[in-house]
C-alpha cells in the first residue's frame, strides 16, 4: 500500500490526470507558510477526497486550485497546478470557471438576498450559450435537487442549511463544470442529509461525468464515496491511497475514523508514528 506523498502516481490516475497539483507551497500575508509542498492528482471522472483535521490545509489547497487565494492575501509561491494539461496557477477564478473548474466554498456561501433560482442563475454567469441551454440546465439541477424547485422563489438566506448546500452545489453545476472543488459539504448538516448530499455527488459523478475534489473532515463518509484519498496534516500530504484501502488502514482507523483496534495503542507508539510520518513527509 502506498503511504507517502512522494509515491509514484496512483494506479487509478490515468496517464494524464484532470487536475495535477505538483508540490505547491502557499504563503499567506507573505509570512505565514500554510502548505509545505502538497502534491495530488484527480483523475478524469474521479472522486478524490482530501482529508485531515482543522487547519491541516484542505481549504487552502482547494483555494489554491480555484485561485480564490489571492482575495485572502495568499499566494502560491512554489510548485505548479495543471488542469487538463495547462498551467492554471496564474489564471483568475473567472477564467477557471470558464474552463470548467469551479469551487463550492465551505459554509455554502449562497447569495442570501437572492432567491434560490437567482442563485442558480448566477452560476451560469460565464456561459455564452444562450438562455435555452441555461434553462435546460436549470431543469437538470432541479431534477437532481427536487427540493430546490419547491423553494425556487424563497430568498436563499431563509432556506435550511441542507437546502443551502444543495443550492451551492446546484449553482456550481450551472456553469457546466468538468470538475467541482467541494469544500466540506457535510458541515453542520444532519447525518441523513449528509448521506443524501453525498448520494447526489455520486450520481453527478456517474451520470454527468463531473469529477470531484472533496475536502472533508467527515472521514468516514468521504472514504465511502471517494475512490482515492489524500490525508493532509500541517500542510503536508502524510498518506494517500485507494479509498477502500485507506479505510482498512490501522492508522487511519485510529486517528481519523475513531475506531480503535482490539488493544489500545500506547502513547509511545503514537509518538513513534508521528516521528515516522514527519520523516516521510
Amino acid at each position: 500500500m502506498t503511504q507517502t506523498a512522494s509515491s509514484p502516481a496512483p494506479e487509478t490516475a490515468a496517464a494524464s490526470p484532470l487536475l495535477k497539483v505538483n508540490n505547491i507551497e502557499v504563503i499567506y500575508d507573505h509570512v505565514i507558510l500554510v502548505l509545505k509542498g502538497v502534491s495530488l492528482d484527480v483523475p478524469e471522472g474521479g472522486i478524490t477526497a482530501l482529508l485531515g483535521a482543522n487547519g491541516a490545509g484542505k481549504t487552502t489547497t482547494l483555494k489554491a486550485v480555484s485561485n480564490l487565494l489571492r482575495a485572502e492575501r495568499g499566494d502560491v509561491t512554489k510548485g505548479s497546478i495543471e488542469f487538463k494539461g495547462d498551467r492554471i496557477d496564474h489564471l483568475s477564478a473567472n477564467e477557471l470557471v470558464k474552463r470548467g473548474c469551479i469551487q463550492v466554498m465551505e459554509g455554502r456561501h449562497c447569495f442570501e438576498h437572492l432567491t434560490i433560482e437567482e442563485n442558480l442563475l448566477t452560476g451560469a454567469f460565464t456561459r455564452r450559450d444562450g438562455s435555452s441551454a441555461i434553462n435546460h440546465d436549470l431543469d437538470m439541477v432541479y431534477g437532481y435537487f427536487p427540493r430546490l424547485r419547491e423553494r425556487r422563489t424563497s430568498l436563499a438566506g431563509y432556506t435550511s442549511g441542507g437546502e443551502q448546500q444543495m443550492c451551492a452545489i446546484g449553482r456550481a453545476l450551472m456553469s457546466r463544470p468538468t470538475m467541482i472543488l467541494l469544500d466540506e459539504p457535510s458541515m453542520g448538516l444532519a447525518p441523513q442529509l449528509v448521506e443524501e448530499i453525498f448520494e447526489i455527488v455520486k450520481k453527478l459523478n456517474e451520470d454527468e461525468g463531473v469529477s470531484f475534489l472533496l475536502a472533508e473532515q467527515n472521514t468516514n463518509v468521504a472514504l465511502r464515496y471517494a475512490k482515492y484519498g489524500y490525508i493532509l496534516e500541517n500542510g503536508r500530504v502524510v498518506m494517500d491511497g485507494v479509498a477502500a484501502e485507506l479505510r482498512e488502514n490501522e492508522d487511519v482507523k485510529e486517528f481519523y475514523l475513531g475506531v480503535a483496534g482490539e488493544d489500545r495503542k500506547s502513547f509511545r507508539n503514537v509518538k513513534a508514528y508521528k516521528r515516522r510520518k514527519r520523516w516521510l513527509a
Binding site: 477564478a93 463550492v104 438576498h113 448566477t122 438566506g157 435550511s160
Partner: protein, 318 residues
C-alpha cells in the same frame, strides 16, 4: 405632556391645513421636489456602497464633473444637447473604467478607511481636472429644460410649482424604474446583487469583480450626470455643486446605505421635512433651520435606528 406639545408640534399644522391648504400643499410639493434632487445624489452613493462597500466621497464631485463636461462640450464645441449628453455619458463610462483600473485595482483587500481616503483623493482630482479642462466660471446648462412656474397648475388649482422640479421628479422616477429593472431582470444586474451579497462567493462562480465594479461606477456616473444636469439647471454649474454630497449624507442615514428605495424615500423625507420645519417651526426657533434640520434628523436616526429605514435586512434563521 400633550398640552405642552400640542401648540408647538400639532397646532401650526392643523391651523395651516384648515386656513391655507394651498400654501401647505405648495410647501409639501416643493419639499418633495427638493427631496428628489437629494435622492438623485444619494442614489449614486448607494449603488457604489452596495456593490463594493466603498463609501464614495467623490459622488458629489462626479455630478459636478459630469455637468461641467456637458456644458463644456456644448459651449466650446457648439454641440447640440443630445450629442453632448451622449458624449458625456461616454466620458463618464471611460472615467469609471479608469477609476477602477488606476485606483481600486491596486487597493483590493484594503481596509474600508483606505478606500474612503482614495475616493477623497479622487474628489479633489476630479475637481481640479474639471477646473483645468473647462474653467472655473459659473456655467449655464442649456438643454431646453423648461424653467419658471407651471402655468397650468397656477391657473387651475392655483398652485405655484416650478416646471424644472416636475421634470426632475419625472426623470428621477424613470431613472429609478430603469435601474430597478436593470438590477432585477438582467444578467449583469443579478451578478451585481450577488457581488453585493458575498464577494468571495461571487468570485467562486466566475463573476469578475473588476468588471462588475466598472459597471457600478459607470452607472453611478450616469446617475451623477442626471443629478448634475438637474442641479446645474436649477442653480448653474458651479463648484459648490460638489457640496450637495454633504446633503446626501443625512438622506443616506435615513434611508439606509444599501437601499435604492431608501435613497428615494430618505430624500423625500429630508426634502419635505426641512421645508415644513422651516415654514412652521422656523419662526419659533429663530429661522434658517432648513440648513441644519436634515442633520438633526439624521442624528436622531443614528441614535434609534442606525441601519436606516430600509437598511439591509439582516437575515437570521432561527
Amino acid at each position: 405632556m400633550y398640552d405642552a406639545v400640542y401648540p408647538f408640534l400639532i397646532e401650526p399644522f392643523a391651523k395651516m391645513w384648515t386656513d391655507m391648504p394651498l400654501f401647505f400643499a405648495e410647501t409639501v410639493i416643493s419639499g418633495v421636489m427638493a427631496g428628489v434632487m437629494y435622492s438623485l445624489v444619494a442614489l449614486g452613493f448607494v449603488l457604489i456602497y452596495k456593490a463594493s462597500g466603498i463609501f464614495n466621497f467623490a459622488q458629489g464631485v462626479l455630478a459636478l464633473f459630469a455637468a461641467l463636461t456637458l456644458t463644456g462640450i456644448m459651449d466650446n464645441f457648439g454641440a447640440p444637447g443630445w450629442l453632448a449628453i451622449i458624449l458625456t455619458v461616454a466620458i463618464m463610462f471611460g472615467l469609471a473604467w479608469l477609476i477602477q483600473k488606476l485606483v481600486f485595482n491596486h487597493l483590493i483587500n484594503q481596509e474600508p478607511i483606505i478606500l474612503f481616503m482614495a475616493t477623497l483623493g479622487l474628489a479633489y482630482f476630479l475637481e481640479g481636472a474639471g477646473d483645468i479642462m473647462w474653467g472655473s466660471d459659473v456655467k449655464v446648462v442649456n438643454l431646453g429644460i423648461p424653467q419658471g412656474a407651471s402655468q397650468w397648475l397656477l391657473d387651475g388649482p392655483g398652485l405655484y410649482v416650478e416646471k424644472l422640479e416636475i421634470v426632475a421628479a419625472v426623470t428621477a422616477a424613470i431613472l429609478v424604474t430603469a435601474l430597478t429593472i436593470f438590477f432585477q431582470k438582467t444578467r449583469i444586474g443579478r451578478a451585481l446583487r450577488a457581488v453585493a451579497d458575498d464577494h468571495q462567493a461571487a468570485m467562486s462562480v466566475g463573476i469578475s469583480l473588476e468588471k462588475i465594479w466598472i459597471v457600478v461606477w459607470a452607472v453611478a456616473g450616469l446617475v451623477a450626470l442626471v443629478a448634475g444636469i438637474m442641479w446645474g439647471t436649477k442653480s448653474g454649474v458651479q463648484f459648490s455643486l460638489s457640496l450637495i454630497a454633504l446633503k446626501a449624507l443625512p438622506v443616506l442615514i435615513l434611508g439606509g446605505f444599501t437601499s435604492v428605495p431608501g435613497a428615494i424615500v430618505g430624500g423625500l423625507i429630508i426634502g419635505v421635512g426641512e421645508k415644513i420645519a422651516e415654514v412652521y417651526w422656523g419662526p419659533a426657533l429663530g429661522g434658517a433651520i432648513e440648513n441644519w434640520f436634515a442633520y438633526m434628523l439624521a442624528l436622531a436616526f443614528l441614535l434609534f435606528r442606525p441601519q436606516g429605514l430600509f437598511g439591509e435586512k439582516i437575515i437570521e434563521r432561527v
